[in-house]
């Protein structure tokens, strides 16, 4: 019994309060697409395993549905233009699902 109490005393409080510090450096969070760099090749759309990225065929646009993303980072790895990167952002909650859908107009010629 004494040992247990001593262990508890030694350990102290380990719970941390929100908001926590930033996520780890390698953490794969919210995707960011730089519209200026993107050439609209849509490799990212093809590689995405969960269908979070899509592009409409009639206009140069990439749609990112953040609620479908599984944060694997394949899109960022495969983007030859380095237009997509995984950020450190881990707080993605939203009241409306529409807020999680980003429609990004890109300047690529290959679109459409």
């Amino acid at each position: 019994m004494f040992e247990i109490l001593r262990k508890i005393w030694q350990t102290g409080t380990v719970t941390k309060r929100q908001p926590l510090a930033e996520a780890a450096g390698k953490y794969r969070g919210k995707i960011e697409l730089d519209a200026a760099k993107c050439n609209g090749c849509r490799d990212c759309v093809g590689i995405c395993p969960s269908g979070a990225l899509s592009g409409s065929s009639d206009r140069p646009q990439i749609i990112i549905e953040h609620h479908k993303c599984v944060f694997c980072g394949s899109c960022a790895d495969n983007c030859e233009q380095r237009a997509i990167k995984m950020t450190n952002q881990c707080y993605l909650e939203a009241k409306d699902k529409q807020d999680l859908i980003a429609r990004i107009e890109v300047s690529g010629e290959k679109c459409g």
Binding site: I8, F71, G73
Partner: protein
Amino acid sequence: MIQLTKKQVVTRLLQALGKKIVSSTLIREHETEIVIEKTYLPEVCSYLVNEKQGRLFTMVGNDERQHLGSFVLYYVFSFDQIDHFITVKTLIDEADPVFPSISVQVPAANWYEREVKDLLGLRALGHPDRRPLVLHGDWPEDQYPLRKDFQGPVARQSDRETTMQYEGRDVTEIPVGPIHAGIIEPGHFRFGAVGDTVLHLEAKLFYTHRGIEKSSEGLPLSKALFTAERICGVCALSHAVAFAQAVESAAQVTLPPRALYLRTLLLELERLYNHIGDIGNMCAGFGFAVGISHGARLREQLQQLNEQLVGHRFLRGVIALGGLRFDLAPAEIRSVSDVLSQVEADFDQLVEIILSHEIAMDRMATTGVLSLEQAVDLAVVGVAARASGHSVDIRRDHPYAAYRQVEFPVALQTAGDVLARFNVRVAEVKSSLLMIQQVIEQLPSGAIAVPIPAIKPYTQAMGWAESPRGEVCHWLMVGPEQTVFRYRIRSAAYSNWPAVPLTVPGNIVPDFPLINKSFELCYSCCDR
């Protein structure tokens, strides 16, 4: 003594079967395939298991009507002593979709045969239990989702599920679940209890069947890897490694040594965070809050280490087909040994506290005994098997990654009770720490991945890994254009669940959560 080649050993092993074998081929270095007529199934399988000490590794039913014109059953047996698998293949005609059951001779085949009936409509004649397993009783009897010509969705019908009926008036039936009070996943347990003592337990699972095997059909291999990673939360990396190994084996590529060593390092990190968390969680079975909290705290430290290393707390997204997706820097590898040395000291204190606690010992010892015979008969794997004295460890028996290069003891206990499973986990934490140290010392430099060449359609291959709960086995058949044709996931939970109801009778009802925790089986990778 003359050294026999592997082919000679296998030939001798199969000698007694003689003319029953239509053809026998060595399809890979570690795998022989024999084709037999379906009438010989019970005889051949019983010979391999009961006389030659083979272990039912997995069984796959496959709809190959498109290119072969019939259904195919594969029974894979593992021969641990000679590091070899023998696959028994048999063709089943569409017009006569039945085959003789082997469950009476080989009890481990029970679930597999019921599943093949549910998903492919191939009926095992003479099977002692004809109830549905995967698809519950409200699924129509003539709809088989794994057939290639299946058209969904189907209309459900009235339930035809039955449970054990007790005749004596003294037996109280206690239904528990499928919705539980804790954060446990869905499973229905029906106890037949006399007073406080359990007489009989029936477990009904597969409430969260997601049809992963069906939904991954036709997926490109690189995308199917992400599905494999998400079969289960806690053995994510083991599943990913097993799938990647199946693809690598089909493509016949050799991985660079650095990738193999890093995979071993990460697999052991996965075992560590699970085992330490589980040791804490087992304390919940007897309400020992100090143990739970300390277990959770240590697990958190290890998961934060995972996040630092690969960017994901469950080690997802690090495996690629043919190696790893990114390398670990020397500084990161140094941080592994720093964190682990802290955790080890803390962990020793935690184990000391639990094992010196009288109530903990009283509750754990002689509770939920799984005998060696039961473990062998049901082909139980992992911690549960080793705690009953069944020495199976696929890291030693069929080494993969860099397990051939590191030395480690296989933890073995003979009591088969909750305490034995606790002790096996403690010993495995120690051997994981030992292994990680060896990996860090020996870690070679160089490339971390090789490209995967095009794989011939309808190539079959297996991948396996020892997850924290036991071995997982992924059986894969590659279809046209580098897609998945058939994917069979056999997780540790799938092998071990049938053993749990056997260990409960004779114990009191409040012991069940403790017994269940000591097996620590997950529902999601059993249900898939």
